[in-house]
Symmetry: C3
Subunit: 314 residues, 3 copies
């Protein structure tokens, strides 16, 4: 998320009650979570395990709960006891949740030739392009951007909050919600089936590339980037922060884990599970997904165990 | 889809800009895709691989992008460069998408004793029988026919478009939507759980047989025919054009591929995957689904590999 | 379900047309299905296989289709031909389905600071606590109780009917719906993702414990009891009557069967299937789910079959 206008580091330190060390004069342009951070951004970290990753990231300022770190040249740190709480305070200030009371928010822009059918909801600052069809009972939540000739079938949800929590098991509620302030971007000529859910980015965007088509009940996690001309069959689930390159086909009920990459033109056969990155241009199968020819041979080998047993035990 | 009234072959050739060869005088009664075509119908084909299948199908007229084929006796071909575009033009002419602006379309017929709860949508030409309960936030899309004593739980979608595309990878958008002009037919005493999606037929119908019961989040693809007294547990997905005979039980998260048949009274255990037809009357398990007893023995054999290894390697 | 006030056993016998044997004077306080029955309750049984289980349960009165049983001391039996029909008659009398015609029922109570967004439905006798967010197109069905600071994302359904049928294959409709008269209870600080479905208890309650967080498209069956601080990733499905103890993590697309227990702090890895109870504090994987370390070794053993084969066959 970018702020409406850059803010000074000293204002920010004062706002969240932090001590400012290192760079003091640069402006802060926005806040992002670590996977999507850019130069000029603020990021937060509250666990020593991730200190280095955040300090060495493109972020210009780091909210951190220790001053015993080496500050990279040109960067500033904002030291406070509860960086996660500081993140929440910043998001609530710059992007407060203001639920629309209308079916179609007055701030939404809907292009010529587009139809929003009954019982659908279009939230604040949503932009829908030309010649789109939004079927009934669809929820398009705040800040979603939709291109031209997009079809969203009935009952789908675009822009739901990320499934992303700050976790500490020494308090009564283990999980605290990391407020989502990102958005969903759906490019031209995409079709989303019925009963799909696409989560918004935590601080950045979830993107569905041009011409990609999804069947019913497909789930796309926060910050996932789907390339153009992909084809996802029904009940596919993709976790957060993953990259699906162009022309990837995922058949029914495939599950894809988080923050990995599936290369261009890969095909993953039905019900497979993808726990780590896959090279493009090949066909995969099984859990964990392997090249389909390898996996098929493996199934044949399993069938031969009784013969082996007989040979060995006789 | 049948046309409102039969049309002459010459009118049709003129309408889509095709040359007519072979039979010229017969009437065309409707258009269907190849899996559901009947005598009197028009079908289209644009790939030489499928020319014969379409020419030899029950269709009376074939839209095709070659005149170098042998025309079966009594049939006519309509030769044009882009048969798929011709299909789209025909569907848009005879079955234009006319989104209802009302929650319950004026053309819908709802039987005595039936309840449609708030925030549900009932589209054009929908027929709902007697003593049905349509729970909140349900979308029943155009042309759906529902019998008596049917229960559709909240958030379900009946009659979403088929996931069916014309695919060519030498153009910017690989996938062009094959417009759906079919419908869903739900027979008496069916129950559909919450959050289910049932796609309409592409040109014909998707049918759910009498007394069949589905749990939540079940997906049924286009043109699938489900027999009476089936039981589908939660998160089952069935792809398009498949036949599920009577009394079939599919347990939770089972996936079934397209255009296959599962025989009467078969039982498929949870999370199994069905890539090809299964005979009736048996219990299946695993991916690919095999008879459960076979698959269970296989799991035992896998456990014995270390023992085999020890024996052989010692 | 408890009745509005206790009723006499003789009134009940007369109401359902049954003969009363054994205890005649005690009052009946409610009716429950066998998994959730308490002292003072009525239960029904119509198959000899389950006679003993019901007679020996905590229930004080048993509707049964045989008088040739031994009645435990202090209990009464109500003998009739069709106990299941008697159950339906009792539920329809004490808990008739009265669909709300309003988006938000007049009998619903919504706490201070809570927001119900457009196109959401709130049924009869629903109680929503303070500072909750109910996103658009959510269905909260009759009798649901929701605590404070609960978030329910768009398109979710809370309180759908149980997938629970009386099954007899010698009649035209094999499955007759066991009417649900139970409810859903969601404790404080729970978050439900988009497109989730949580079924009500058949006669008792389905409960989601304090601080539990669910991603999108999670399905929870009737009467399931989920402890506090659980984490369920997208597309998890849990069947009915299961107990998930506190702090359990289920990763994406996990399936859990009915009436089993997953112990506290267990972790079940993505796409695993759980057919029977799991001890707490361990990590599980595969179908059927086993300890992850065991299962991972098994995958390595399978890879070694070709080497074994070579050694043995050479």
């Amino acid at each position: 998320m970018k702020f409406p206008a850059p803010v000074s580091a000293t204002w920010m330190a004062d706002f969240i009650g932090a001590e400012l060390h290192g760079e003091r004069n640069a402006l802060i342009h926005g806040i992002n979570e670590i996977h999507r951070v850019e130069a000029g951004d603020l990021v937060f970290v509250d666990h020593p395990k991730y200190y280095d990753k955040c300090l060495q990231s493109p972020a210009s300022f780091i909210i951190i709960n220790s001053d015993a770190v080496t500050i990279p040249a040109g960067k500033g740190i904002l030291v406070c006891d509860a960086p996660f709480e500081a993140y929440l305070k910043i998001v609530q200030h710059f992007k407060p949740f203001t639920p629309s009371a209308e079916n179609i928010s007055k701030s939404a822009v809907i292009g010529a030739g587009s139809v929003v059918m009954p019982n659908s909801f279009v939230g604040n600052n949503v932009v829908i392009g030309k010649d789109c069809i939004i079927h009934p009972n669809v929820s398009i939540l705040d800040d979603t951007i939709i291109g031209d000739r997009v079809v969203i079938q009935a009952g789908s949800v675009i822009g739901s909050d990320a499934f992303y929590y700050n976790s500490k098991k020494d308090r009564p509620n283990w999980y605290r919600k990391m407020l989502s302030c990102g958005q969903v971007i759906i490019e031209d000529d995409v079709e989303i089936g019925a009963g799909c859910t696409i989560d918004r980015g935590v601080t950045a965007d979830t993107r569905i590339g041009r011409g990609t088509k999804m069947d019913n009940m497909v789930h796309i996690g926060h910050d996932t980037q789907v390339g153009p001309n992909c084809l996802f069959a029904a009940q596919v689930g993709i976790a957060g922060g993953t990259i699906i390159e162009e022309g990837v086909t995922l058949w029914g009920q495939v599950g894809v884990s988080k923050t990995l990459t599936i290369g261009a033109h890969a095909v993953v056969l039905a019900q497979s599970g993808v726990p780590s990155s896959l090279a493009g241009g090949k066909t995969y199968f099984g859990y964990p997904a392997e090249e389909a020819s390898t996996k098929r041979r493996e199934l044949v080998w399993i069938k031969r165990i009784p013969e082996l047993w007989k040979k060995v035990m006789d």
